[in-house]
């Protein structure tokens, strides 16, 4: 697939930046004319992935989180990268209702929502090195508009 457009953004692992990340990715993905539901799905997935990085990757809120977004004809690919602690047990982390944080009221539904709101989800992680989450969302509405391209 030929990439139509791409962007990369790095910001600090502060929780107030999660909203910013949703807006930026949503705005960029809008170039593909997604439906409101597709856009909401993208924003929700991004919110979960960036929140995970902001809460779990680093000891403080001074770590870097990098988002890359690639637009293709029929889908968008979003990559969220941190170089923090990494996920100790990925299978456990992906279990619904599991959270490694016991202090706050955490639902442990982050990965579940990411899976349900995206068309494919790929996670690579290494202890002490960091985590990369790759989200793909198909944009069906785009193919309905243009025939020959």
């Amino acid at each position: 697939m030929v990439e139509k457009n791409s962007m990369t953004l790095t910001f600090k692992s502060k929780s107030e930046n999660v909203s910013f990340a949703r807006i930026v990715v949503g705005s960029f993905a809008s170039q593909l004319n997604p439906t409101l539901e597709e856009l909401a799905d993208i924003k929700t997935s991004v919110s979960e992935a960036v929140t995970n990085a902001a809460i779990h990757a680093y000891e403080d809120d001074n770590g870097d989180i990098k988002i890359s977004c690639k637009l293709f004809k029929k889908y968008v690919e979003i990559e969220i990268v941190d170089n923090g602690v990494g996920i100790e047990d990925l299978n456990q982390a992906r279990q619904p209702f599991y959270s490694s944080c016991n202090t706050d009221e955490r639902s442990g539904m982050g990965f579940t929502l990411m899976e349900m709101f995206s068309d494919s989800l790929n996670i690579t992680t290494k202890k002490g090195k960091g985590t990369t989450v790759l989200i793909r969302k198909n944009i069906k509405s785009h193919t309905a508009v243009k025939k020959d391209e």
Binding site: S15, E16, V18, S19, R22, L36, E37, A40, D41, K43, T44, S47, E48, T51, A54, I55, D104, E105, R106, S107, G108, M109, G110, T112, L113, M116, F117
Partner: protein, 104 residues
Amino acid sequence: MNLNYKNEKGITVIEFCGELDNHTANLTKKDLDMIMEKSQSTNYIFDLSKLKFMDSSGIGILLGRYRTIKNNGGNLFVRNLNPQIDKVFRVSGLYQVLIKMDKN
């Protein structure tokens, strides 16, 4: 995230205004607890018509309040969810415990 509350036929209605994510969750939790402590209602309605977005951080907050309300013998109702929030509720199973009211 701002909260407004009022009494509606003996039930406390709490209106959520803004977005409910990790950043706003802690303050929202404190404000909710304060309102619930003050109003001492058994049943609650959370009106989400002005809530623009919610992710899994919101699920945790709502479930926490639900437990408190349930322990006091009450029910937690929700109304006016936008499509994004409705989808989060459906996917997470929140509708198993929170009761959806018809649109008003």
